[in-house]
């Protein structure tokens, strides 16, 4: 038994290593082979990392809820969009210093997440509705959130005002990238991008720590394993569910602010575009897997960046879905997921 577990672990490590190697090779070789004119491969790698970190952070919320409740919360993307608006509008309307937007959006996102649970999930859980009904219910919640945003903020794109961005350290503007020489390669990256990557990975590590190392995390894992057992251990199952939704919402809020910092075009429909990316990310990584979400985020970003780089920008949108399709057919548990998926 134990020997075989080791084999399984080695297998998943090997697959991860292969995928990483694949990304690295892709990064350094392919653009050169296909087109000499495109930007340096180093540049693509940095783009993959900073865009991918936002995707990962966003998709983590799906993975978290799925791993604890076994349902897909399709309103997560709407919470993400609200997080972005909370950040941007608090600056525009109330002159909130930009440093406070992140905690503010996380708090707001968390609260919206808990509300979504109360309105869209809890009534269905009470009568043991099928998971499919919960999926549809979360779509209803998503529609409500998107429409509320539309009523409140309108549909024209919003952004963090340029002047407020200057409050950030090192005058974080895209116009002034740093150049880092490393192993003979030149990485150009702006401080803003660095902060996005640092914040995203810090939050992801924090979540990993919370789930894997703390008492609360242990309770969450027990609930995920078996709700009856959790009840016997006098763990408040409802409380854990609300906590899960709060954490997922907070992650969505953070991702929303980072997204709004990176792209100056936030609309109520931004979430819808991200929803499909987020789903692709967690399917690639494995539906309930936290590490899988991180890997998946980087992969989706890699698909997008390289499809554009090799001159097929239209492939950019299709590639992630083709990958999603193939993964579901050949490895439905995802790249890092464990092989427990029920198939016919």
């Amino acid at each position: 038994m134990q020997a075989s577990n080791l084999v399984l672990k080695l297998k998943s490590v090997a697959i991860t290593a292969l995928v990483m190697l694949g990304i690295a090779l892709f990064a350094y070789e392919l653009p050169d082979i296909l087109d000499k004119k495109v930007l340096s491969p180093e540049q693509h790698l940095t783009t993959v990392i900073w865009v991918g970190s936002v995707y990962s952070l966003f998709a983590l919320g799906y993975a978290l809820v799925f791993s604890i409740l076994g349902v897909l919360n399709l309103s997560h993307s709407a919470v993400f969009m609200w997080g972005g608006y909370i950040g941007v509008m608090s600056v525009i309307r109330y002159d909130v210093p930009i440093y406070y937007t992140l905690p503010l959006a996380m708090l707001g996102g968390g609260i919206i997440g808990v509300l979504v649970d109360l309105i869209a999930f809890a009534p269905l859980r009470r009568r043991n509705a099928p998971r499919i009904s919960q999926l549809i219910s979360s779509l209803g919640a998503s529609a409500v959130l998107v429409n509320l945003a539309q009523l409140e903020f309108g549909t024209s794109p919003e952004r963090f005002p340029r002047t407020t961005l200057k409050e950030l350290p090192y005058e974080a503007t895209v116009a002034r990238p740093y150049t880092i020489d490393w192993l003979g390669a030149e990485f150009r990256i702006t401080p803003l991008q660095v902060s996005i990557v640092v914040i995203a990975f810090a939050l992801m590590l924090l979540l990993q720590y919370l789930v894997a190392r703390t008492k609360t995390g242990k309770a969450m894992r027990v609930v995920a394993f078996n709700q009856k057992v959790a009840g016997l251990l006098s763990i408040s199952v409802g409380g854990i569910f609300r906590l899960t939704f709060f954490l997922a919402g907070a992650l969505a809020g953070a991702a929303g602010v980072l997204y709004a910092l990176a792209y100056p075009s936030l609309t109520p429909f931004t979430g819808d575009e991200m929803a499909l990316k987020g789903l692709t990310v967690i399917v690639l990584g494995g539906l309930g897997s936290i590490r899988g979400a991180v890997l998946g985020g980087l992969l989706v970003a890699a698909f997008e960046v390289y499809a554009t780089a090799i001159g097929y920008s239209w492939l950019k949108d299709a590639l992630p879905f083709v990958a999603l399709f193939l993964i579901l057919l050949f490895r439905p548990q995802g790249l890092l997921g464990e092989a427990t998926v029920k198939r016919a």
């Binding site: 349902v71 779509l139 209803g140 819808d272 399917v283 579901l328």
Partner: protein, 320 residues
């Protein structure tokens, strides 16, 4: 008749809207068939796109008459369903839903970039001639004459309803119901699960393709943007709101959810919000949907009580 249509038009249901309501009823029936077999497939928006584009290209670029064109669109959707269904239907619930969303998006993106792909092929093969413009990218195909008539749709809905009723009582329908309830046991009772799942998937795809053909010849313009994730969700919402415990549930759902925003047009800004709230309320408190026989029984009971109450009031008044 004129009086009825005037009355309907006064609450926002003009002929165009009513026609659209029936188109959506057909789409709702298309997803009902897969749901009846326990398959949570969202692929029908993709098949709708295929039916729509194929039939419109036939009538616009090749001067086909309307009816053969939409039938070919329907068959095309069914044919494409074969290679999609075989691998994808091995997946279950959420995995199947996501995979079929992937299919819908790939279809949309392929249609969006169809001309570019053709052009790419032309240059690769060093062909001299100018590559044709077929789907016309994000702008879509415009100036399509309105050929879809309400009569066609009503006839189609009647035929499909007959099909559904018969299906329920047939060997085919029983097999699907068994698969929905327990796939493995169904197989152990001698039911070829793969065959029946795929058959239902293909039939559903054909219905969606037919609905797509009708919708393509209704709105004067078709664009790839109209057949994405949102449409897939809409189609699902029709059948869920209508209820999948009966064959007529999805029809009611398709009609009602299409009519709702039009009836609420005076509250224009809030229609999206109201749609979302309606969906939430239905899924939480009326899981059987509009077509739930239990709902109608309780409605009848309540109505009976109201009638009784009024009658009592009358007799009481007469007594006084």
């Amino acid at each position: 008749m004129g009086f009825v249509s005037d009355a309907l038009a006064s609450i926002g249901l003009n002929e165009f809207v009513i026609t659209l309501m029936f188109v959506n009823a057909i789409l709702a029936m298309s997803i009902y068939l897969t749901l009846y077999g326990g398959m949570f497939s969202l692929a029908n928006a993709g098949f709708m796109a295929i039916g729509s584009y194929v039939s419109v290209i036939l009538t616009q670029n090749h001067d086909w008459p309307f009816l053969p064109a939409i039938l070919v669109g329907m068959v095309a959707a069914g044919l494409i369903a074969i290679p999609i269904g075989l691998p994808v239907l091995r997946l279950r619930d959420i995995y199947l839903a996501i995979a079929t969303i992937g299919f819908v998006e790939i279809t949309r993106i392929m249609i969006l970039n169809f001309d570019k792909i053709i052009a790419e092929v032309y240059t690769r093969l060093h062909m001299e001639s100018e590559p044709p413009k077929i789907t016309n990218g994000p702008l879509g195909i415009t100036g399509i004459p309105v050929e879809t008539k309400l009569e066609y749709l009503i006839v189609t809905v009647i035929i499909l309803s007959y099909f559904m009723i018969r299906m329920h009582r047939s060997r085919f329908g029983r097999a699907l119901a068994a698969i929905r309830q327990d796939e493995n046991v169904a197989a152990s009772q001698g039911i070829n699960v793969v065959y029946y799942k795929n058959a239902a998937f293909i039939l559903g795809a054909m219905m969606a393709g037919l609905g797509g053909g009708f919708s393509g010849h209704l709105s004067r313009i078709i664009q790839p943007g109209s057949y994405g994730f949102g449409t897939a969700v809409d189609i699902l919402a029709y059948s869920v709101l209508g209820g999948i415990s009966s064959w007529y549930g999805p029809i009611l759902g398709g009609l009602a959810l299409t009519a709702l925003p039009e009836v609420l047009r005076p509250l224009k800004e809030y229609t999206g919000l109201i749609n979302g709230v309606v969906l939430l309320i239905f899924i939480a408190y009326l899981p059987g949907g509009l077509g739930d026989p239990a709902l109608w029984r309780s409605v009848r009971k309540t109505a009976g009580r109201i009638v009784n109450f009024i009658n009592k009031g009358k007799t009481a008044n007469a007594g006084a």
